[in-house]
Symmetry: C2
Subunit: 329 residues, 2 copies
């Protein structure tokens, strides 16, 4: 495998000149440039990123931290990140943390060891303290979920408002007994979405009923099924349920169907995220569309700015309520 020295020798110039050709600098005469390019071709030379990266003290790699790859919610975001990254000559390392601090730390080590130039964190369970510390020395952006007030830039939507609108939609089509399928309130988004739920009810003069609020451990399909099982057992059964993730909602849907009830006639369902599958279910799912692709591109741009040493501000993007069959009474 040829290196820059051999190319230089073969072309009869210095390595500096070869490097200049490689990097498209204009201080090379077209004659020597030609010679060099010929040598490159003849030797089948490919510049090594290893040497370049060391010299430039960069890895051209950014980390994406997600709790699990199994939730399609992240896929669209990742695509957004990737496209921006690629176009800026960065590559992305996808890191599944399983919300495990141990695994998380392995990935944090990658940036400490210069294997990565920055991090986009999408893990709601991330250790905020560690993240904060890390952010003092390295470029970090939070995406979708964020720790507030720790000074790390984030991109997200207005979760309270989104939740408010979703529930308001249910109220407007006549529901009054509305269950909330939420996750652990240690997550900021869970608290915010609950607040939106409360505000909507309050606004319609409906009293909060704690029996209608269910907490699940994760955002997965099975959690939705289990929670719905409990809901269906309630003496005063609600007529609608708002789930804070599509996967939960799809689990709920399945359980309702299995119980012989009809969606939306007997029970309306609203999800959150607008993952691809929310359109594949029967009936299709009403859901809050997060601008996932945009979130990804935005986060990536912010990170690259940060890596370049610039100051960046947090961003709050718009969402959209998508009404489909599961509430189309």
């Amino acid at each position: 495998m040829a290196n820059i020295q051999q190319v230089a020798k073969h072309a009869g110039v210095s390595v500096a000149t070869v490097s200049r050709v490689l990097n498209g600098q204009n201080t090379v005469s077209s004659k020597t440039k030609l010679k060099v390019e010929e040598a490159i071709k003849e030797l089948n030379y490919e510049p090594s990123m290893l040497g370049r990266n060391l010299r430039n003290s960069e890895s051209r790699i950014v980390l994406i931290l997600i709790p699990t790859i199994s939730n399609p919610f992240y896929l669209e975001i990742i695509k957004g990140i990737e496209n921006v990254a690629i176009s800026h000559n960065y590559n992305i390392l996808l890191c599944e943390t399983d919300s495990d601090p141990e695994k998380e730390n392995i990935y944090f080590d990658l940036v400490r060891k210069k294997m990565a130039d920055g991090i986009i964190s999408m893990d709601p369970a991330v250790n905020v303290e560690t993240l904060k510390q890390l952010a003092e020395k390295y470029a970090i952006i939070q995406c979708s979920e964020y720790g507030g007030g720790i000074g790390i830039p984030y991109v997200t939507i207005d979760n309270e408002e989104a939740s408010y609108r979703a529930v308001k939609h249910l109220l407007q089509i006549g529901h009054t007994k509305i269950a909330l399928m939420n996750t652990d309130e240690k997550f900021l988004y869970a608290r915010e979405r609950k607040m939106g739920y409360e505000r909507a009810l309050r606004e319609h003069g409906i009293e909060m009923n704690n029996n209608y609020i269910f907490y699940t451990k994760d955002l997965g399909f099975e959690n939705g099924q289990q929670a719905m099982k409990k809901i269906l057992k309630l003496k005063e059964r609600p007529t609608a349920v708002f789930a804070v993730s599509d996967l939960l909602a799809i689990g709920a849907l399945k359980e309702i169907n299995a119980s012989g009830l009809n969606v939306p006639r007997d029970m309306a369902v609203v999800g959150f995220d607008k993952i691809d599958f929310s359109n594949m279910t029967n009936p299709t799912l009403t859901t809050v569309a997060q601008p996932m692709y945009k979130m990804g591109t935005t986060a990536a741009k912010m990170l690259i700015e940060k890596i370049q040493g610039n100051k960046v501000d947090s961003v709050i993007l718009d969402f959209e309520l998508v009404i489909r069959e599961s509430t189309a009474g």
Copy 2:
């Protein structure tokens, strides 16, 4: 940010000694080892992968080539790859090719430029010629889909047999008019699965009916919907359909439901892959389970062997037919 020189100075030893401590070599006296470890702690030193990688001529990164991140089929495989990779101190770069040779080439360049030590290709649309050429100089393994006879090791299942069994199951529960929802036969797995379909029919003395064979451009949900629309319009409508991917099958399911017909009473459906969502649909989907996680770990182990310069043989793993509601007559 401290480097190894400063640690050496601070500990009053040479860089060689520090390096030895770092790499856990046993030729360091416990006394100096202690000194060095102290210095490392005091200076908050983290060894740079950039320097190490250059010196070792390796990147400790492997590439995974997938056509699209949107098909959950790949997720489980990726998990398998990742776990093995991590435990061998490799990191994975997930590369979505969109089956676009242009994008593909960008990723191939990463290994040419030493940014990656090897490739696991899962893209059926990969340019076999390029791959073959690349495999002469770099470590490459094919996973799930493979170009036969090009000398690149692969891990896969027996697609012909798997398809045969799926169709045989439909025959056994009484179906005789069975449609095949296939993809482009330029893909090896498409040809193989069609052969299995034919063999099963032949064995039951049923004549192949080309009107019952449908080709889709991709393996996505929408393709399944569209194909099913055509199937439902047939004058002599089949009573069962075998789709070569779960996403296709789920699209078919949705379309059948929408048309007012019942699965499995009016139309039985069998998918392929056993993605998570195949269990979330209504009804749940009968499907061929590929050992995705195992495929991932196997491919990763093979790749690492290959990177280390060893010869590796191709592997064919077992599959399993999972019978669920969509054929439970």
